[in-house]
Protein backbone atom coordinates (compact mmCIF):
# COMPACT_ATOMS: atom_id res chain seq x y z
CA UNK A 1 0.00 0.00 0.00
CA UNK A 2 2.79 2.37 0.94
CA UNK A 3 4.39 1.86 -2.48
CA UNK A 4 1.22 3.33 -4.03
CA UNK A 5 1.62 6.46 -1.90
CA UNK A 6 5.32 6.61 -2.80
CA UNK A 7 4.36 6.49 -6.48
CA UNK A 8 1.80 9.26 -5.97
CA UNK A 9 4.34 11.30 -4.03
CA UNK A 10 6.70 11.09 -7.00
CA UNK A 11 4.01 11.30 -9.67
CA UNK A 12 5.47 12.15 -13.07
CA UNK A 13 4.36 15.64 -14.10
CA UNK A 14 3.23 14.29 -17.50
CA UNK A 15 0.39 12.47 -15.70
CA UNK A 16 -0.62 15.76 -14.10
CA UNK A 17 -0.57 17.43 -17.53
CA UNK A 18 -2.79 14.66 -18.88
CA UNK A 19 -5.30 15.01 -16.03
CA UNK A 20 -5.47 18.78 -16.54
CA UNK A 21 -5.85 18.39 -20.30
CA UNK A 22 -8.77 15.99 -19.87
CA UNK A 23 -10.34 18.13 -17.13
CA UNK A 24 -10.27 21.22 -19.34
CA UNK A 25 -10.94 19.71 -22.77
CA UNK A 26 -13.79 17.30 -21.99
CA UNK A 27 -16.22 19.91 -20.54
CA UNK A 28 -15.57 22.12 -23.60
CA UNK A 29 -16.51 19.21 -25.90
CA UNK A 30 -19.34 17.91 -23.70
CA UNK A 31 -20.77 20.92 -21.79
CA UNK A 32 -22.22 20.25 -18.32
CA UNK A 33 -24.03 23.61 -17.98
CA UNK A 34 -23.28 23.99 -14.28
CA UNK A 35 -25.72 26.22 -12.37
CA UNK A 36 -24.48 29.78 -11.83
CA UNK A 37 -25.35 32.22 -9.06
CA UNK A 38 -23.97 35.78 -9.19
CA UNK A 39 -21.60 36.94 -6.47
CA UNK A 40 -21.89 40.37 -4.77
CA UNK A 41 -19.41 42.26 -7.00
CA UNK A 42 -21.00 40.84 -10.17
CA UNK A 43 -24.49 41.79 -9.00
CA UNK A 44 -23.25 45.33 -8.24
CA UNK A 45 -21.76 45.53 -11.74
CA UNK A 46 -25.06 44.48 -13.30
CA UNK A 47 -27.10 46.89 -11.15
CA UNK A 48 -24.77 49.79 -11.99
CA UNK A 49 -25.46 49.33 -15.71
CA UNK A 50 -29.17 48.83 -15.11
CA UNK A 51 -29.31 52.05 -13.10
CA UNK A 52 -28.01 54.44 -15.77
CA UNK A 53 -30.53 56.22 -18.02
CA UNK A 54 -31.18 54.67 -21.43
CA UNK A 55 -29.14 56.37 -24.14
CA UNK A 56 -26.26 57.21 -21.80
CA UNK A 57 -22.71 57.25 -23.11
CA UNK A 58 -20.36 54.73 -21.50
CA UNK A 59 -16.57 54.49 -21.79
CA UNK A 60 -15.05 51.00 -22.03
CA UNK A 61 -11.28 50.73 -21.66
CA UNK A 62 -10.16 47.34 -22.98
CA UNK A 63 -6.74 47.15 -21.38
CA UNK A 64 -5.60 43.65 -22.31
CA UNK A 65 -4.03 41.75 -25.17
CA UNK A 66 -4.60 38.34 -26.78
CA UNK A 67 -2.71 36.60 -23.97
CA UNK A 68 -5.65 37.32 -21.66
CA UNK A 69 -8.33 36.91 -24.32
CA UNK A 70 -9.74 33.71 -22.83
CA UNK A 71 -10.48 35.39 -19.54
CA UNK A 72 -11.36 38.97 -20.46
CA UNK A 73 -12.77 38.96 -23.99
CA UNK A 74 -16.04 37.24 -22.92
CA UNK A 75 -16.57 40.13 -20.49
CA UNK A 76 -16.12 42.68 -23.27
CA UNK A 77 -18.74 40.97 -25.43
CA UNK A 78 -21.19 40.54 -22.55
CA UNK A 79 -20.83 44.14 -21.34
CA UNK A 80 -21.26 45.52 -24.88
CA UNK A 81 -24.37 43.39 -25.39
CA UNK A 82 -25.89 44.56 -22.11
CA UNK A 83 -25.16 48.23 -22.85
CA UNK A 84 -26.51 48.08 -26.41
CA UNK A 85 -29.65 46.28 -25.21
CA UNK A 86 -30.19 49.27 -22.91
CA UNK A 87 -29.74 51.63 -25.88
CA UNK A 88 -26.53 53.00 -24.40
CA UNK A 89 -23.82 54.37 -26.66
CA UNK A 90 -20.26 53.19 -26.20
CA UNK A 91 -16.84 54.78 -26.61
CA UNK A 92 -14.00 52.25 -26.50
CA UNK A 93 -10.27 52.76 -26.11
CA UNK A 94 -7.23 50.84 -24.96
CA UNK A 95 -4.13 51.56 -22.92
CA UNK A 96 -2.60 48.33 -24.29
CA UNK A 97 -1.15 48.51 -27.83
CA UNK A 98 -2.70 45.15 -28.73
CA UNK A 99 -6.09 46.03 -27.26
CA UNK A 100 -8.00 47.84 -30.05
CA UNK A 101 -8.52 44.80 -32.35
CA UNK A 102 -10.16 43.06 -29.38
CA UNK A 103 -12.69 45.92 -29.18
CA UNK A 104 -13.29 45.70 -32.94
CA UNK A 105 -13.84 41.93 -32.80
CA UNK A 106 -16.18 42.17 -29.80
CA UNK A 107 -18.34 44.87 -31.34
CA UNK A 108 -18.46 42.95 -34.65
CA UNK A 109 -19.72 39.84 -32.83
CA UNK A 110 -22.32 41.74 -30.80
CA UNK A 111 -23.63 43.62 -33.84
CA UNK A 112 -24.35 40.23 -35.45
CA UNK A 113 -27.05 39.87 -32.76
CA UNK A 114 -28.00 43.57 -32.78
CA UNK A 115 -27.57 44.56 -36.45
CA UNK A 116 -29.05 48.07 -36.33
CA UNK A 117 -26.09 49.60 -34.52
CA UNK A 118 -24.01 52.11 -36.47
CA UNK A 119 -20.36 53.04 -36.10
CA UNK A 120 -19.99 56.70 -35.19
CA UNK A 121 -23.45 57.10 -33.72
CA UNK A 122 -23.87 54.07 -31.43
CA UNK A 123 -20.24 53.16 -30.82
CA UNK A 124 -16.72 54.37 -31.51
CA UNK A 125 -13.30 52.80 -31.11
CA UNK A 126 -10.69 55.42 -30.25
CA UNK A 127 -7.86 52.90 -30.41
CA UNK A 128 -4.64 52.91 -28.42
CA UNK A 129 -2.72 55.80 -26.93
CA UNK A 130 0.66 55.47 -25.30
CA UNK A 131 1.36 57.55 -22.21
CA UNK A 132 -0.24 55.41 -19.50
CA UNK A 133 -1.19 57.54 -16.47
CA UNK A 134 -0.65 60.77 -18.44
CA UNK A 135 -3.42 59.70 -20.87
CA UNK A 136 -5.80 58.96 -18.00
CA UNK A 137 -5.26 62.38 -16.46
CA UNK A 138 -5.41 64.18 -19.81
CA UNK A 139 -8.78 62.56 -20.59
CA UNK A 140 -10.11 64.24 -17.46
CA UNK A 141 -9.59 67.55 -19.22
CA UNK A 142 -10.20 66.62 -22.84
CA UNK A 143 -10.72 63.31 -24.61
CA UNK A 144 -10.16 65.12 -27.91
CA UNK A 145 -6.62 66.18 -27.01
CA UNK A 146 -5.72 62.62 -25.96
CA UNK A 147 -7.36 61.01 -29.02
CA UNK A 148 -7.48 63.48 -31.95
CA UNK A 149 -8.47 60.60 -34.30
CA UNK A 150 -10.24 57.28 -33.83
CA UNK A 151 -8.79 53.82 -34.52
CA UNK A 152 -9.79 54.07 -38.20
CA UNK A 153 -8.12 57.46 -38.62
CA UNK A 154 -11.35 59.50 -38.68
CA UNK A 155 -10.88 62.95 -37.07
CA UNK A 156 -12.56 63.35 -33.66
CA UNK A 157 -14.81 66.22 -34.75
CA UNK A 158 -16.16 64.26 -37.73
CA UNK A 159 -17.72 61.58 -35.52
CA UNK A 160 -21.31 62.31 -34.47
CA UNK A 161 -21.18 60.47 -31.14
CA UNK A 162 -18.01 62.27 -30.08
CA UNK A 163 -19.66 65.68 -30.48
CA UNK A 164 -21.33 64.88 -27.13
CA UNK A 165 -18.07 63.76 -25.50
CA UNK A 166 -15.80 66.31 -23.85
CA UNK A 167 -14.15 64.55 -20.91
CA UNK A 168 -14.97 61.96 -18.22
CA UNK A 169 -18.02 63.96 -17.14
CA UNK A 170 -19.67 62.99 -20.47
CA UNK A 171 -19.81 59.34 -19.40
CA UNK A 172 -22.45 57.81 -17.14
CA UNK A 173 -20.03 54.97 -16.42
CA UNK A 174 -16.39 54.13 -17.03
CA UNK A 175 -15.65 50.41 -17.37
CA UNK A 176 -12.07 49.21 -17.20
CA UNK A 177 -11.51 45.63 -18.39
CA UNK A 178 -7.88 45.05 -17.59
CA UNK A 179 -5.17 42.49 -17.02
CA UNK A 180 -2.40 44.59 -15.49
CA UNK A 181 -0.50 47.84 -15.93
CA UNK A 182 -1.88 50.24 -17.04
CA UNK A 183 -5.42 49.29 -16.13
CA UNK A 184 -8.03 49.38 -13.40
CA UNK A 185 -5.55 50.21 -10.63
CA UNK A 186 -4.37 53.30 -12.54
CA UNK A 187 -7.96 54.36 -13.28
CA UNK A 188 -8.65 54.21 -9.52
CA UNK A 189 -5.46 56.00 -8.53
CA UNK A 190 -5.34 58.71 -11.20
CA UNK A 191 -8.92 59.30 -12.35
CA UNK A 192 -11.68 57.85 -10.15
CA UNK A 193 -11.42 60.16 -7.14
CA UNK A 194 -10.02 63.16 -8.98
CA UNK A 195 -12.69 63.25 -11.69
CA UNK A 196 -15.47 61.61 -9.66
CA UNK A 197 -15.94 58.61 -11.97
CA UNK A 198 -18.46 55.87 -11.45
CA UNK A 199 -15.98 53.11 -12.22
CA UNK A 200 -16.64 49.42 -12.90
CA UNK A 201 -13.96 46.80 -13.40
CA UNK A 202 -13.59 43.57 -15.29
CA UNK A 203 -10.52 41.92 -13.86
CA UNK A 204 -8.41 38.85 -14.49
CA UNK A 205 -8.79 36.45 -11.56
CA UNK A 206 -5.21 37.04 -10.50
CA UNK A 207 -5.95 40.76 -9.93
CA UNK A 208 -9.10 40.20 -7.88
CA UNK A 209 -7.45 40.05 -4.40
CA UNK A 210 -5.87 43.46 -5.06
CA UNK A 211 -8.99 45.05 -6.55
CA UNK A 212 -11.24 43.75 -3.75
CA UNK A 213 -9.85 46.55 -1.57
CA UNK A 214 -11.04 49.12 -4.14
CA UNK A 215 -14.45 47.46 -4.42
CA UNK A 216 -14.94 47.41 -0.65
CA UNK A 217 -13.99 51.09 -0.35
CA UNK A 218 -16.57 52.03 -3.02
CA UNK A 219 -13.94 53.21 -5.50
CA UNK A 220 -15.16 50.42 -7.77
CA UNK A 221 -18.94 50.29 -8.06
CA UNK A 222 -18.90 46.71 -9.34
CA UNK A 223 -16.46 44.05 -10.47
CA UNK A 224 -16.46 41.05 -12.80
CA UNK A 225 -14.00 38.58 -11.35
CA UNK A 226 -12.28 36.36 -13.89
CA UNK A 227 -14.10 33.86 -16.06
CA UNK A 228 -16.45 32.91 -13.20
CA UNK A 229 -17.56 36.54 -12.88
CA UNK A 230 -18.04 36.77 -16.63
CA UNK A 231 -20.14 33.58 -16.64
CA UNK A 232 -22.32 34.84 -13.77
CA UNK A 233 -22.80 38.12 -15.62
CA UNK A 234 -23.80 36.30 -18.82
CA UNK A 235 -26.41 34.46 -16.75
CA UNK A 236 -27.73 37.78 -15.41
CA UNK A 237 -28.10 39.37 -18.85
CA UNK A 238 -29.64 36.20 -20.26
CA UNK A 239 -26.98 35.53 -22.89
CA UNK A 240 -24.96 32.43 -22.03
CA UNK A 241 -21.99 32.59 -24.39
CA UNK A 242 -18.22 32.18 -24.21
CA UNK A 243 -17.78 32.46 -20.42
CA UNK A 244 -20.63 30.07 -19.64
CA UNK A 245 -18.89 27.45 -21.79
CA UNK A 246 -15.52 28.12 -20.19
CA UNK A 247 -16.75 27.97 -16.58
CA UNK A 248 -17.44 24.21 -16.88
CA UNK A 249 -13.84 23.63 -17.89
CA UNK A 250 -12.54 25.90 -15.16
CA UNK A 251 -14.68 24.23 -12.49
CA UNK A 252 -13.49 20.72 -13.40
CA UNK A 253 -9.92 22.03 -13.70
CA UNK A 254 -10.14 23.50 -10.18
CA UNK A 255 -11.47 20.20 -8.84
CA UNK A 256 -8.55 18.31 -10.40
CA UNK A 257 -6.04 20.74 -8.86
CA UNK A 258 -7.76 20.47 -5.44
CA UNK A 259 -7.67 16.66 -5.64
CA UNK A 260 -3.99 16.75 -6.65
CA UNK A 261 -3.11 19.00 -3.70
CA UNK A 262 -5.00 16.77 -1.24
CA UNK A 263 -3.57 13.55 -2.71
CA UNK A 264 -0.06 15.02 -2.77
CA UNK A 265 -0.29 15.91 0.92
CA UNK A 266 -1.70 12.54 1.98
CA UNK A 267 1.06 10.79 0.03
CA UNK A 268 3.67 13.06 1.55
CA UNK A 269 2.42 12.40 5.11
CA UNK A 270 2.22 8.64 4.61
CA UNK A 271 5.69 8.35 3.05
CA UNK A 272 7.16 10.75 5.63
CA UNK A 273 5.66 8.63 8.49
CA UNK A 274 7.12 5.51 6.91
CA UNK A 275 10.58 7.09 6.66
CA UNK A 276 10.41 8.22 10.33
CA UNK A 277 9.35 4.69 11.34
CA UNK A 278 12.34 3.22 9.53
Amino acid sequence: MSSVWTKINHLDKRWIYLFVLLAVALPLILPINLPLSPSGPVMSFYKAIESIPKGSIVLISNDYDPGSKAELYPMTEAVLYHLFKRNCRVVMLSLFPAGPPMSERAVARVTEDLPNLQYGTDFVNLGYKDGREAVLVEMGRSIRSAFPKDYRGIPYDSIALLKEVENYSSFALVISISVGYPGTKEYVQYAQGRFNLKLLAGAAAVSVPEYSAYYNSGQLSGMLTGISGAAEYEELIGRRALAAKAIDAQAIGHMVIILLIVLGNVAWFVTKGKKNHE
Binding site: L11, K13, I16, Y17, F19, V20, L34, P35, L36, S37, S39, G40, P66, G67, K69, A70, A98, P100, P101, E104, R105, A108, K129, D130, G131, R132, A134, V135, E138, R141, S142, S145, A146, Y151, R152, R194, A205, P209, E210, S212, A213, N216, T225, G226, S228, I247, Q250, A251, G253, H254, M255, V256, I257, I258, L260, I261, L263, G264, N265, W268
Partner: protein, 208 residues
Protein backbone atom coordinates in the same frame (compact mmCIF):
# COMPACT_ATOMS: atom_id res chain seq x y z
CA UNK B 1 25.41 71.36 -15.70
CA UNK B 2 24.76 67.88 -17.07
CA UNK B 3 23.16 66.94 -13.76
CA UNK B 4 21.93 70.33 -12.55
CA UNK B 5 19.67 71.07 -15.56
CA UNK B 6 17.69 67.79 -15.39
CA UNK B 7 17.39 68.22 -11.60
CA UNK B 8 16.08 71.77 -12.05
CA UNK B 9 13.55 70.62 -14.71
CA UNK B 10 12.31 67.87 -12.39
CA UNK B 11 12.08 70.25 -9.42
CA UNK B 12 10.05 72.84 -11.33
CA UNK B 13 7.70 70.42 -13.15
CA UNK B 14 7.29 68.19 -10.08
CA UNK B 15 6.34 71.07 -7.78
CA UNK B 16 4.10 72.58 -10.46
CA UNK B 17 2.21 69.30 -11.01
CA UNK B 18 1.59 68.98 -7.26
CA UNK B 19 0.49 72.64 -7.12
CA UNK B 20 -1.91 72.35 -10.09
CA UNK B 21 -3.74 69.44 -8.45
CA UNK B 22 -4.99 71.81 -5.75
CA UNK B 23 -5.63 74.85 -7.99
CA UNK B 24 -8.43 74.20 -10.51
CA UNK B 25 -7.95 77.54 -12.35
CA UNK B 26 -8.13 77.20 -16.16
CA UNK B 27 -4.80 78.99 -16.72
CA UNK B 28 -3.01 76.54 -14.44
CA UNK B 29 -4.82 73.49 -15.81
CA UNK B 30 -3.98 74.54 -19.40
CA UNK B 31 -0.27 74.52 -18.59
CA UNK B 32 -0.67 71.20 -16.74
CA UNK B 33 -2.46 69.79 -19.79
CA UNK B 34 0.42 70.85 -22.05
CA UNK B 35 2.86 69.06 -19.73
CA UNK B 36 0.64 65.95 -19.83
CA UNK B 37 0.71 66.05 -23.62
CA UNK B 38 4.51 66.37 -23.62
CA UNK B 39 4.63 63.32 -21.33
CA UNK B 40 2.46 61.37 -23.80
CA UNK B 41 4.71 62.38 -26.72
CA UNK B 42 7.91 61.55 -24.80
CA UNK B 43 6.50 58.12 -23.82
CA UNK B 44 5.70 57.42 -27.48
CA UNK B 45 9.23 58.52 -28.41
CA UNK B 46 10.61 56.14 -25.81
CA UNK B 47 8.74 53.29 -27.53
CA UNK B 48 10.50 54.15 -30.81
CA UNK B 49 13.81 54.21 -28.97
CA UNK B 50 13.02 50.78 -27.56
CA UNK B 51 12.29 49.39 -31.04
CA UNK B 52 15.54 50.84 -32.40
CA UNK B 53 17.49 49.40 -29.50
CA UNK B 54 15.87 45.96 -29.89
CA UNK B 55 16.72 45.97 -33.61
CA UNK B 56 20.33 47.04 -32.99
CA UNK B 57 21.00 44.49 -30.23
CA UNK B 58 19.29 41.66 -32.13
CA UNK B 59 21.09 42.48 -35.41
CA UNK B 60 24.48 42.59 -33.65
CA UNK B 61 23.91 39.18 -32.08
CA UNK B 62 22.45 37.64 -35.25
CA UNK B 63 25.30 38.82 -37.48
CA UNK B 64 27.97 37.78 -34.94
CA UNK B 65 26.23 34.36 -34.65
CA UNK B 66 26.21 34.53 -30.86
CA UNK B 67 24.16 32.10 -28.73
CA UNK B 68 20.57 31.63 -30.05
CA UNK B 69 21.38 33.82 -33.09
CA UNK B 70 18.65 32.16 -35.15
CA UNK B 71 15.97 33.38 -32.72
CA UNK B 72 17.29 36.92 -33.15
CA UNK B 73 16.44 36.65 -36.88
CA UNK B 74 12.93 35.57 -35.91
CA UNK B 75 12.63 38.71 -33.77
CA UNK B 76 13.98 40.96 -36.52
CA UNK B 77 11.84 39.50 -39.32
CA UNK B 78 8.68 39.51 -37.13
CA UNK B 79 9.28 43.09 -36.06
CA UNK B 80 9.91 44.36 -39.58
CA UNK B 81 7.05 42.44 -41.24
CA UNK B 82 4.55 43.45 -38.53
CA UNK B 83 5.66 47.08 -38.54
CA UNK B 84 5.74 47.46 -42.32
CA UNK B 85 2.41 45.69 -42.87
CA UNK B 86 0.74 47.91 -40.28
CA UNK B 87 2.23 51.16 -41.57
CA UNK B 88 1.75 50.41 -45.28
CA UNK B 89 -1.46 48.37 -45.31
CA UNK B 90 -3.22 49.83 -42.28
CA UNK B 91 -4.44 48.21 -39.07
CA UNK B 92 -8.22 48.18 -39.52
CA UNK B 93 -10.30 44.99 -39.80
CA UNK B 94 -9.81 43.42 -43.23
CA UNK B 95 -6.13 44.32 -43.54
CA UNK B 96 -3.24 41.83 -43.64
CA UNK B 97 -1.99 43.16 -40.29
CA UNK B 98 -5.32 42.75 -38.50
CA UNK B 99 -6.60 39.51 -40.02
CA UNK B 100 -3.44 37.54 -40.69
CA UNK B 101 -0.81 38.76 -38.25
CA UNK B 102 -2.97 39.78 -35.29
CA UNK B 103 -5.81 37.24 -35.31
CA UNK B 104 -4.22 34.27 -37.10
CA UNK B 105 -0.71 34.43 -35.67
CA UNK B 106 -0.34 36.66 -32.61
CA UNK B 107 -3.64 35.74 -30.91
CA UNK B 108 -3.25 31.93 -31.01
CA UNK B 109 0.42 32.14 -30.01
CA UNK B 110 -0.27 34.44 -27.07
CA UNK B 111 -3.28 32.37 -25.97
CA UNK B 112 -1.19 29.20 -26.15
CA UNK B 113 1.49 30.71 -23.94
CA UNK B 114 -1.15 31.76 -21.42
CA UNK B 115 -2.90 28.38 -21.54
CA UNK B 116 0.28 26.47 -20.71
CA UNK B 117 0.13 28.18 -17.31
CA UNK B 118 -2.73 25.86 -16.32
CA UNK B 119 -0.42 22.84 -16.69
CA UNK B 120 2.50 24.45 -14.88
CA UNK B 121 0.29 25.72 -12.06
CA UNK B 122 -1.28 22.27 -11.56
CA UNK B 123 2.12 20.61 -11.47
CA UNK B 124 3.57 23.29 -9.17
CA UNK B 125 0.55 23.17 -6.83
CA UNK B 126 0.89 19.40 -6.52
CA UNK B 127 4.52 19.72 -5.41
CA UNK B 128 4.60 23.10 -3.64
CA UNK B 129 1.46 22.92 -1.48
CA UNK B 130 2.99 20.48 1.01
CA UNK B 131 1.89 21.50 4.50
CA UNK B 132 5.23 21.45 6.27
CA UNK B 133 4.35 24.20 8.81
CA UNK B 134 1.23 25.83 10.28
CA UNK B 135 1.68 28.79 7.91
CA UNK B 136 1.67 26.35 5.00
CA UNK B 137 -1.51 24.77 6.44
CA UNK B 138 -3.15 28.18 6.55
CA UNK B 139 -2.10 29.01 2.98
CA UNK B 140 -3.17 25.64 1.58
CA UNK B 141 -6.54 25.64 3.37
CA UNK B 142 -7.34 29.21 2.25
CA UNK B 143 -6.32 28.41 -1.32
CA UNK B 144 -8.49 25.27 -1.40
CA UNK B 145 -11.49 27.08 0.09
CA UNK B 146 -11.24 30.02 -2.33
CA UNK B 147 -10.76 27.71 -5.34
CA UNK B 148 -13.77 25.65 -4.33
CA UNK B 149 -15.94 28.65 -3.48
CA UNK B 150 -15.26 30.35 -6.82
CA UNK B 151 -16.74 27.52 -8.87
CA UNK B 152 -20.33 26.22 -8.99
CA UNK B 153 -19.35 23.04 -7.09
CA UNK B 154 -18.77 25.15 -3.96
CA UNK B 155 -22.43 26.11 -3.74
CA UNK B 156 -23.48 22.50 -4.40
CA UNK B 157 -21.45 21.36 -1.36
CA UNK B 158 -22.66 24.13 0.96
CA UNK B 159 -25.22 26.79 0.05
CA UNK B 160 -23.33 29.60 1.81
CA UNK B 161 -19.93 28.65 0.43
CA UNK B 162 -19.76 31.61 -2.04
CA UNK B 163 -20.67 34.04 0.78
CA UNK B 164 -17.98 32.50 2.98
CA UNK B 165 -15.40 32.97 0.21
CA UNK B 166 -16.64 36.55 -0.28
CA UNK B 167 -15.96 37.08 3.44
CA UNK B 168 -12.39 35.75 3.04
CA UNK B 169 -11.86 38.15 0.13
CA UNK B 170 -13.59 41.12 1.76
CA UNK B 171 -12.14 40.92 5.26
CA UNK B 172 -8.77 39.15 5.74
CA UNK B 173 -7.70 39.71 2.13
CA UNK B 174 -8.76 43.37 2.06
CA UNK B 175 -6.97 44.06 5.35
CA UNK B 176 -3.71 42.71 3.94
CA UNK B 177 -4.17 44.39 0.56
CA UNK B 178 -4.89 47.78 2.16
CA UNK B 179 -1.76 47.49 4.27
CA UNK B 180 0.28 46.74 1.15
CA UNK B 181 -1.39 49.50 -0.90
CA UNK B 182 -1.01 52.17 1.79
CA UNK B 183 2.59 51.14 2.41
CA UNK B 184 3.37 51.25 -1.31
CA UNK B 185 1.61 54.64 -1.67
CA UNK B 186 3.61 56.16 1.18
CA UNK B 187 6.77 54.72 -0.37
CA UNK B 188 5.85 56.26 -3.75
CA UNK B 189 5.22 59.68 -2.14
CA UNK B 190 8.57 59.49 -0.30
CA UNK B 191 10.44 58.43 -3.45
CA UNK B 192 8.71 61.15 -5.50
CA UNK B 193 9.68 63.85 -2.99
CA UNK B 194 13.25 62.55 -2.80
CA UNK B 195 13.50 62.75 -6.61
CA UNK B 196 11.92 66.22 -6.80
CA UNK B 197 14.31 67.60 -4.18
CA UNK B 198 17.35 65.91 -5.72
CA UNK B 199 18.05 63.49 -2.87
CA UNK B 200 17.39 60.44 -5.04
CA UNK B 201 19.49 60.79 -8.21
CA UNK B 202 19.82 57.26 -9.55
CA UNK B 203 17.38 58.12 -12.42
CA UNK B 204 20.08 60.39 -13.87
CA UNK B 205 22.18 57.33 -14.69
CA UNK B 206 25.78 56.63 -13.86
CA UNK B 207 28.93 58.54 -14.87
CA UNK B 208 29.50 62.26 -15.14
Amino acid sequence: MKREIPLAILLITGLFMIFQYFVPHYAISDIASKIQQWAIIITSGAALLGIANLLRVSLDQAIARKQDWMYKWVVIVSLVVTGVSGIVGGIEPGTFFNDMIYFHMYTPMASTMYATLAFFIASAAFRAFRVRSWQAWLLACTALLVMLGRIPFGKMIWGDFPQFVDWIMNVPNTVAQRAILIGAALGAVATGLKMIFGIERSWLGGGD
